[in-house]
């Protein structure tokens, strides 16, 4: 399985980064969040005093990166559906490769693609005046949190789109998942001012765990490492679900 997983993973990554348009979107999209959303809110946020000590950019960055991990899941699903439609899934499966291996390669491939946004966003944030603490443990923890989030969400997307061969499915699933999870989280605004039902969602939303971990690191408050634990549980749970669903329901064509 290792040989097949490595081959398919490399394929996912190379395919993504050999497409200049994909690279452009991957890099520009998170930057635009900071530029447009961040700039529009920066003054208001400073006036309200509810966004911690730094600028709104420092508050927003960990949140935006967390929501970006939602969209990479969609790309993993789209590449799977493309493989089904173009027959590549058959080419893979007429070798000693299991459906579960295909699932894992797609999930890890999508997660890798998500993590590439981190250095780009960090540079963009520096441009917008955010300063980063130099503590290796917390850097590692933050990146690990994003990785777990990306693996969890790409697994979730892959599981939900496993039986489909329709190009439109990932978009539909994405619309269904992205909006509630993005806004019912601490990614863009502090959840303390949410109505209680949204707070309830936010408190169990993995995006909140990742955003809060990154935020406490960036804003210099003490990091709650339990967030990393929750994210690990989320990632493992989604991986297991995706693994089982793929074995049973991953359609070939």
């Amino acid at each position: 399985m290792r040989s097949q997983l490595w081959g398919l993973y490399v394929r996912e990554v190379l395919r993504t980064f050999r497409n200049p348009f994909v690279v452009l979107v991957t890099l520009v999209q998170p930057f635009m969040w900071l530029a447009f959303f961040g700039s529009s809110f920066n003054n208001l946020a400073a006036a309200s005093g509810k966004f911690g000590s730094g600028s709104y950019f420092a508050f927003l960055l960990p949140g935006t990166l967390s929501t970006s991990m939602l969209s990479v899941g969609m790309f993993g699903s789209m590449s799977t559906i493309q493989d089904k439609r173009f027959g590549f899934m058959k080419r893979i499966l007429i070798t000693p490769t299991s459906k579960q291996t295909i699932f894992l390669s797609k999930a890890f491939g999508a997660a890798t693609r998500g993590l590439v946004q981190v250095p780009v966003m960090v540079v963009a944030a520096i441009v917008f005046g955010v300063s980063f603490p130099l503590s290796p443990i917390e850097w590692t923890g933050w990146i690990l949190a994003l990785l777990l989030l990306a693996i969890g969400f790409s697994s979730l997307f892959l599981a939900m789109t496993a039986p489909s061969t329709d190009w439109q499915t990932p978009g539909v699933v994405s619309n269904f998942i992205t909006m509630p999870l993005m806004f019912a989280s601490a990614a863009l605004f502090p959840s303390t001012s949410f109505p209680s039902w949204m707070q309830a969602i936010s408190n169990v939303n993995p995006i909140t765990f990742s955003a809060e971990l990154g935020r406490s690191f960036l804003l210099g408050t003490s990091v709650d490492w339990m967030n990393l634990g929750y994210l690990a549980v989320f990632a493992v749970l989604m991986l297991v679900i995706g693994y089982l669903v793929s074995a049973r329901w991953l359609k070939v064509e």
């Binding site: 058959k90 499966l93 007429i94």
Partner: protein
């Protein structure tokens, strides 16, 4: 004769629930190792379904099958390590170079030390100097060659070729025929190919099974199959309806089949039949006439009652125009 490379035992495949399409209907086959075996039949006959079942892409509804000595259902991974597959539509990783495609295939087959074999294959197919080129820049013929090289990389026992020449121009088709014959000799691999081109089955295959509506209706060497048919086929289109009993009464006529004003008449010898025909049916009533000597096409026609290249769409178009005329009138 070699031990069978593929054995199919009373195999049925139904898509969907119990009311779904029965794509394979109690198929039995035994394909000797080291041979080129052709599965010939019209579109929708079940050829591709049989390949899907034998390669483990589709489940079996009932019956058993083994490939390269392993049960298709119970030992799927072992089967898949011993087979190669060439798709009707060429499927390659277009963002990759030739060598990267081979690398990926080697990974999928979990091969060690595959590089030498890969270079030999590229040499054999004349692609060695293009090994770093992106395959999206390749011609159809080159893509097809690379796909066959991928199928051969892990030294498989059996190669499945699903309609290998569909949609190819005549020159590329001839080239592919040479390749099939060549790799069969060079690498000693068993080849199961499907085709609806009669001349292809005739030119390439040691043995042929004729499949129609999910059933194997005949099997044998091309010459055995042709010798089954002793009669000629006369196809006739008349301008007006004629009574079929007139045709059946002509000496030497074995069978008369009609579809509107189109007639397919099976006769012992067309040379003797034609003078009688012209004496019976007025020549100005005959719009079109053709005579076929025994061939795989006539074998198919005789066994199934219809042609491999279906003519129904033409009838539909005629019906459609007839309706249009009536609607205008």
């Amino acid at each position: 004769m070699n031990a069978p490379a593929i054995i199919v035992n009373d195999l049925s495949k139904r898509y969907g629930n119990s009311h779904g399409v029965l794509a394979l209907d109690h198929v039995n086959l035994s394909i000797a190792g080291g041979t080129v075996f052709g599965l010939m039949g019209p579109n929708g006959a079940g050829k591709t379904t049989l390949i899907k079942v034998l390669t483990g892409i589709s489940d079996i509804t009932s019956g058993t099958a083994s490939v390269a000595g392993f049960d298709v259902k119970k030992e799927s991974l072992k089967v898949r390590a011993r087979i190669g597959w060439v798709a009707a539509e060429v499927i390659l990783e277009d963002d990759f170079s030739t060598w990267e495609n081979l690398w990926l295939q080697a990974r999928l087959q979990d091969l060690k030390g595959w590089e030498e074999r890969a270079e030999q294959l590229l040499q054999y197919f004349g692609l060695l100097d293009r090994k770093d080129d992106k395959v999206s820049h390749y011609s159809t013929g080159m893509r097809k060659k690379l796909e066959i090289a991928l199928a051969l990389l892990h030294q498989p026992t059996v190669i499945f070729m699903d309609e290998p020449t569909i949609g190819l121009d005549v020159a590329t088709r001839r080239m592919l025929w040479d390749i099939v014959t060549g790799i069969h000799k060079e690498f000693g691999v068993t080849i199961l190919l499907t085709t609806h081109y009669i001349e292809e089955a005739d030119a390439l295959c040691d043995r042929i099974a004729i499949i129609d509506r999910g059933r194997i209706v005949a099997e044998g060497t091309p010459s055995e199959l042709k010798s089954q048919v002793k009669s000629d086929i006369v196809s006739l289109e008349t301008s007006e309806a004629i009574d079929s009993s007139i045709l059946s009464k002509i000496p030497g006529v074995q069978e008369v089949r009609a579809q509107g004003n189109d007639w397919i008449i099976q006769v012992a010898a067309s040379e003797e039949f034609l003078p009688h025909l012209f004496a019976t049916v007025r020549p100005d009533e005959i719009r079109r006439i053709s005579v076929e000597k025994p061939s795989l096409e006539t074998v198919f026609l005789q066994l199934t009652g219809h042609r491999i290249a279906e003519e129904e769409p033409m009838h539909d178009i005629r019906k459609f125009y007839a309706q249009m005329r009536r609607a205008r009138a």
